[in-house]
């Protein structure tokens, strides 16, 4: 892998630089502020965020118009680079100067230690990241949908998964990266978004609080197990987090007197957070609440002013999230797909209905002890996807030690509003066990944590012990986790392990994909029964989840007719997820996937086993007794997913 790294880095960095140039041009900041008051990290991050959001929307628009190809993306990248060449050079110059200043500004052993920890974690995360995709979500849709679009040569309605209707701002950048080069470029983009988030935390700390706390805050943030775990994947969470962080930064700037442009930018970035993940609705809600209740110093009070501010914020958010609603309206007639709005006659995707049904049943009987356990998991943190030991431990010290108390109140209000919206909106068990959804709150709290570490270092005569304690926690478990994830992939990275053997080792059902790619006819459509974690990214055939009607079918002949009608050619049955109970096959984890098929009869009449491994069986659907009696109007086709 190490041999291809320079080329993949080249494409990734080019995309990032072009984005920053586009953003800089769009913000009208063509003049270098470096000449007057030194490099402006804050401005660089705003340019990058604007550019990434604009580039993503360009890719969406071109894709909808039928242009998804390597040649098209080369022309787009080249055109952006030429049109924004002056801005790109300025960005590059400022970034280099900023890096130089940061290195020269390191003073004292503790700061050198923090910088070394940060660089070590970044290096380990890079090795962790630079490996074939193996995370469930990236294989289900983050990289799979761009792969399908590249095969189709355009962005069009693909109704296989409910997730395909989510807003996909970051996936559009992945689409471009995959079109230009490979999925590894998409993964590297996500890795760099993690570094951009760390830079944003440092910039917020320096700009609104205290320069000496910027490095501790960035290190506490970047070393969070949550960030480490996400850095190795092409999940899009670090993109949502980046847009959320710069949305806060713009809001804080507006509240300092930055003018309507800063408020509009905050709205635009909040919309981009929502445009990259549905949970980003918390960023828009929290931002709109702040825009309504707070005002900049020069603005007079009044309800009409508050409404106007909120309208500006929401209008700007609509600019970045609106295109995704338009896409859904064009594809399905429902802008909010895959979710339903019954009052307006907008129907849900069946996948969403099945998931909600499972979640409703799971939420039915939650004992108080479970709520306590979940709350503790959320606050103290999941070990792999949590905030690590330092964020909350240094929070109170940060609150005592923060210089800008007004800015601190704004930060805490934004972070807590984001947290509260998610806590209220998310269904159980996601509410307590999907810590990554709360990444913006955790990431923002890294700022007071950094201030707290800095404050402790000032208020105690003997500051060695507190720095030693924080340093020890950064080394273990934070850096240890990062090194562990990186070290496990060193044989692959150095070329001592093949990608095939790595995938076979990491993915329990990879052998199914290999078998299917060799043996299934072109255009096959495989129904996943029991789980969607079938590593779809590696299949040539399309993988689809079951419809409600299919799950409820009992009689083998009726089920076969439904399968025929939906163009299903094969079934991938996750046997281990089902146990027979009350005449049905009960799903062990998600009651929404309970199955009523008579499997022995189905096997005898319509399912021919092809391949079995790890408790998962691939069947070919046998329609021989059916094909002469039932008319199949569309053959293998999409359909029936919106009910």
């Amino acid at each position: 892998m190490i041999r291809t790294l320079p080329v993949d880095l080249f494409w990734t960095v080019w995309m990032i630089l072009a984005s920053a140039g586009i953003g800089r041009k769009a913000l009208g900041a063509a003049r270098s502020s470096a000449d007057e008051e030194g490099p402006d990290a804050h401005g660089l991050l705003m340019s990058l965020g604007s550019g990434l959001a604009i580039l993503s929307l360009l890719v969406l628009g071109l894709g909808m118009a039928g242009m998804v190809s390597r040649r098209g993306y080369l022309i787009l990248l080249a055109a952006a680079s030429v049109l924004c060449s002056r801005e790109i050079l300025l960005v590059l110059r400022e970034a280099v100067r900023l890096a130089g200043l940061s290195i020269r500004g390191l003073s004292g052993r503790f700061e050198v230690f923090l910088a070394a920890v940060l660089l070590s974690a970044a290096a380990a995360n890079l090795i962790f990241n630079y490996s074939p995709p193996t995370q469930a979500r990236e294989m289900l849709y983050d990289l799979t949908l761009p792969k399908i679009y590249l095969q189709l040569g355009r962005i069009r309605d693909v109704p296989d998964q409910k997730e395909f209707y989510y807003p996909m701002a970051v996936q559009m950048l992945y689409l471009m990266g995959m079109g230009l080069r490979s999925a590894l470029v998409a993964k590297l983009l996500h890795f760099f978004l993690g570094l951009a988030c760390a830079a944003a935390v440092a910039a917020v700390t320096r700009r609104f609080f205290r320069g000496s706390a910027a490095l501790p805050a960035a290190v506490i943030f970047y070393l969070m197990p949550l960030v480490t775990s996400l850095s190795g994947t092409a999940n899009i969470d670090l993109g949502t987090l980046f847009f959320g962080l710069i949305a806060f930064s713009s809001l804080a700037l507006w509240l300092e007197g930055g003018g309507t442009k800063a408020l509009a930018l905050a709205g635009f970035f909040s919309g981009a957070a929502l445009g990259s993940k549905v949970t980003g609705i918390s960023v828009v809600t929290a931002g709109a609440a702040l825009a309504f209740f707070l005002r900049s110093p020069e603005e007079p009070p009044g309800i009409s002013r508050a409404v106007r501010r909120t309208a500006v914020f929401l209008f700007a958010a609509g600019l970045s999230v609106g295109p995704w609603l338009v896409r859904n309206a064009v594809f399905t007639g429902n802008p909010l797909a895959p979710f339903a709005v019954p009052a307006l006659g907008w129907k849900a995707h069946e996948g969403a209905l099945i998931e909600l049904r499972g979640l409703e049943k799971a939420a039915g009987n939650v004992p108080a002890s479970e709520i306590l356990r979940g709350t503790r998991n959320l606050l103290v943190g999941d070990i792999i996807f949590g905030g690590g030991p330092l964020v909350l431990a240094f929070l109170l010290a940060g609150i005592y030690g923060a210089d800008g108390k007004r800015n601190l109140r704004i930060l805490l209000a934004f972070a807590l509003a984001n947290f509260a919206v998610l806590l209220l909106a998310l269904p159980y068990p996601h509410r307590f066990y999907e810590n990554r959804y709360y990444a913006l709150t955790t990431g923002l709290l890294a700022v007071p944590a950094g201030l707290g570490l800095d404050w402790f270092g000032r208020v105690f005569k003997s500051k060695g012990w507190v720095r030693g304690l924080a340093g020890a926690c950064l080394l273990f478990p934070c850096l240890a986790l990062s090194l562990l994830f990186g070290a496990r992939r060193i044989p692959l990275f150095l070329g001592f392990q093949s990608q095939e053997s790595y995938l076979a080792e990491k993915l329990p059902f990879y052998s199914h994909a290999v078998y299917a790619n060799k043996n299934l006819p072109r255009g096959s459509k495989v129904l996943m029964l029991g789980s969607s974690d079938a590593h779809a990214f590696y299949w040539d055939a399309s993988l689809v989840p079951p419809s409600l009607e299919l799950l409820a079918g009992r009689d083998p002949e009726d089920v076969a007719k439904l399968l025929w009608g939906q163009g299903i050619t094969h079934v991938l049955y996750f046997e281990g997820f089902y146990r027979r109970e009350d005449g049905a096959l009960k799903h062990t984890e998600n009651s929404g996937l309970d199955l009523h098929w008579d499997m022995p009869k189905m096997r005898a009449s319509h399912l021919a086993g092809l391949f079995r491994s790890a408790g998962v069986i691939l069947y070919r659907v046998d329609y021989s007794d059916l094909s002469d009696r039932v008319h199949n109007p569309g053959g293998i086709r999409f359909g029936g997913n919106f009910g």
């Binding site: 503790r376 431990a393 240094f394 109170l396 005592y400 030690g401 562990l484």
Partner: protein, 51 residues
């Protein structure tokens, strides 16, 4: 002039220390009883022949 108005209060420092100790203790309590060992460390040690 005191740059940090809260520094003068010993109580602030004490609360911040108690808060820090409580969260660190709870974090590591959760950590050492967690899936880190079951899913990561012990299998790794096993593969290295150290378990």
């Amino acid at each position: 002039m005191n740059e940090y108005p809260n520094l003068s209060t010993r109580r602030a420092r004490l609360w911040a220390l108690v808060w820090m100790a409580a969260f660190l203790a709870d974090y590591f309590l959760q950590f050492f009883g967690s899936r880190f060992w079951r899913d990561l460390a012990l299998p790794l040690l096993g593969r290295m022949g150290l378990k």
